[in-house]
């Protein structure tokens, strides 16, 4: 891996008590804790997933892949997987498109006579947009639970104020047709500002001359965004996509606040809620661990696909240029 990132900087001297004691304390103690609390549980989960353990017996009975077979035939679990996959596809796409568009407006949405400049007051927009990211997600979802309230909520208040009477007592979170979309809106809302800040930094990292050149050649702003900013932030997009995807597969916090019971007709039930219920309410820990493994496999597949496709695209665009 990256064992010798900067070999010239690393010190290589003989072992003294001073050095050895430092390494043992600085590395040994934290890594030991890290192994016990973080890495060991992951491997244990894989083992428990092959047992019928309920958590109350001292021994775990090995049952092979029975848990996985059970999950494959469990319509509720499959439904939760489906819902999680919808989140996985929709949340990152919406968040990235929206945050990229806002970042473009901030960085080159201003007047472009003379040097390419950002928008005046851009720091205000950045501070405001980033704000939801620092608010605890559970609070965001509690607030939006109230915003969506059929009779006393902010959303229906605004809609009826605009003359849309049909919204008078519409239960956004209580209707199977809108519950999932309403949930996705909240998650996207909470994350756009964070990725906007990321993209602003990435776009500012593109040399100013490139923008100048594009402008002189007569490229409009949309053209600039598509042809210069998009390739310029490519690697940031890939990282962001992976983070967002892994997060969307989790999404537990938001749903715990918005739809703790899986929503109308289980339309918003996600894998993590199923894991939580199976483990800590039903006491079927083996089965819950199998669900956890499915979740992990999904995230690894997703990460692999994003990075694989990214590499493929990079290679193709390189060939086209040649």
């Amino acid at each position: 891996m990256s064992s010798v990132v900067k070999p010239s900087r690393a010190v290589h001297r003989r072992l003294t008590f001073d050095r050895v004691s430092l390494m043992v304390v600085f590395l040994g103690v934290p890594v030991a804790l890290y192994l016990v609390f973080v890495l060991y549980p992951f491997t244990q989960a894989a083992w428990y997933s092959l047992t019928s353990w309920s958590g109350f017996t001292s021994t775990q009975e090995f049952i092979g892949f029975d848990n996985y077979a059970k999950l494959a035939g469990d319509p509720l679990f499959l439904k939760s997987v489906g819902n999680s996959l919808v989140l996985l596809l929709v949340v990152p796409a919406l968040t990235l498109v929206l945050s990229f568009a806002l970042a473009c407006l901030l960085t080159f949405g201003g007047s472009s006579t003379g040097a390419v400049r950002g928008l005046g007051g851009s720091s205000f927009y950045r501070v405001v947009s980033f704000f939801p990211y620092v608010v605890p997600a559970i609070v965001v979802s509690i607030i939006f639970g109230r915003v969506y309230d059929p009779s006393a909520g902010l959303l229906n208040g605004i809609l009826t104020g605009l003359g849309i009477d049909r919204a008078a007592s519409f239960a956004w979170l209580g209707e199977p047709s809108t519950a999932k979309a309403a949930t996705i809106v909240v998650i996207v809302w909470a994350f756009v500002g964070f990725y906007m800040v990321l993209f602003v930094a990435a776009i500012r990292g593109i040399p100013a001359e490139v923008f100048e050149a594009a402008r002189i050649d007569g490229a409009g702003r949309f053209r600039t965004a598509v042809s210069i900013a998009v390739p310029g932030v490519g690697s940031a997009v890939r990282t962001a996509y992976v983070y967002l995807g892994i997060f969307a597969l989790d999404a537990f916090v938001f749903l715990a606040g918005l739809e703790p019971d899986g929503g109308p007709a289980n339309s918003t039930l996600v894998i993590t809620q199923e894991i939580f219920r199976t483990a800590f309410k039903d006491g079927r820990f083996g089965l819950a661990c199998a669900m956890g493994v499915v979740l992990a496999v999904l995230s690894f597949l997703f990460t692999g696909i994003v990075f694989g496709v990214g590499r493929l695209l990079a290679r193709r665009s390189g060939e086209v240029a040649r």
Binding site: S2, S3, V4, R9, V11, D18, R19, L22, V25, L27, P30, V31, L33, Y34, F37, L39, P41, F42, Q44, Y48, G109, L119, V128, F130, F131, Y133, V134, V135, P136, V139, F144, G145, G157, G161, V192, G193, L198, A201, A202, G205, D217, G218, A219, R221, S227, I228, P231, S235, A236, D250, V253, A256, A279, F285, A288, C289, G292, S299, A321, R322
Partner: protein, 297 residues
């Protein structure tokens, strides 16, 4: 870069875009401000509404979403603080997040220092193991973690929560700080050792202060992350007396269904947001800088 060249050659032949005169420029600027202004409103409105609602009586809350409170009163805050237990949850949060933050920063800085500046057998493996911890879904680990803590007798205790918080923030902290330590000039450490300083003294008195800006950035990111943590306390801390703020508020919101004291719920939300909001407003430049630097790696 290659895509840029093709874009340039292609767009050079097209006529300059419409609306490139001074008035067109102004229209674009106004348009950008309008879109960003609407977005800011969408972000701020729910919070503003929450703050206003936290001063209303439950009857006022249900009468109209827009009405201002007849009398701005703090009774909701008193109720949230006392009846809903937000006061003691707040204290638990401060203790848990404070201790975990100190612990993870200390462990993270120490490990990052050794991993960045010492070369030894197995360094690559360790680096890999630590970065790997960032990519696993935490949900896979929580079930076994529950039993590990129970076996150690620290399930449902604040120390148990502190240790878990610190160890789950550890890989991120190490990952982030390694690059800071790698970039510190080696000459200064050498000078310190020639002057007879031990390795320990070199770290605490020379290298750690020099990594100050990096430490501060990571500490702020960690503070926000730990303060907002929800899953770990919900799973590992079911003793009501030890609830942290996010967990307590979540329980309060879902506990009594339609009997929820909505005024107190709004007040509790404001109370939970306020500390992170203050930290954010004071350090927003540094926090956004850290996010931008971390995200591009």
């Amino acid at each position: 870069m290659s895509a840029v060249t093709t874009a340039r050659t292609r767009s050079a032949s097209t006529a300059p875009g419409a609306g490139r005169g001074p008035s067109g420029e102004r229209a674009v600027t106004v348009g950008s401000h309008t879109v960003l202004g609407i977005w800011s409103l969408i972000v701020l409105l729910p919070f503003a509404w929450t703050v206003v609602s936290s001063f209303k009586t439950t009857r006022e809350i249900f009468a109209s979403p827009f009405s201002l409170p007849e009398r701005w009163q703090f009774v909701n805050y008193v109720n949230a603080w006392r009846t809903a237990g937000i006061g003691s949850y707040f204290l638990n949060s401060v203790v848990v997040v404070g201790c975990a933050l100190v612990l993870t920063m200390l462990m993270g800085a120490m490990s990052a220092y050794v991993l960045a500046r010492f070369s030894f057998r197995g360094r690559g493996v360790l680096r890999f193991l630590i970065v790997a911890g960032l990519t696993f879904p935490v949900f896979l680990a929580v079930v076994p973690l529950f039993f590990i803590l129970r076996q150690m007798g620290i399930l449902n205790t604040l120390p148990g929560l502190i240790l878990t918080y610190a160890t789950y923030a550890y890989p991120f902290t190490v990952f982030f700080l390694m690059s800071f330590f790698e970039e510190l000039p080696g000459e200064i450490a050498e000078a310190a050792s020639i002057d007879g300083a031990s390795e320990w003294r070199t770290f605490f008195q020379v290298m750690l202060p020099m990594a100050g800006p990096g430490l501060a950035a990571v500490a702020i990111l960690n503070f926000v992350g730990l303060w907002n943590q929800y899953l770990l306390p919900v799973v590992l801390n079911s003793n009501r007396d030890n609830y942290v703020l996010t967990q307590g508020l979540g329980a309060f919101a879902s506990a009594s269904g339609y009997d929820v004291d909505f005024g107190a719920l709004f007040a509790g939300s404001v109370t939970t947001i306020l500390p992170v909001l203050l930290v954010y407003l004071v350090f927003q430049r540094r926090l956004q800088g850290a996010v931008a630097a971390g995200g591009l790696k």
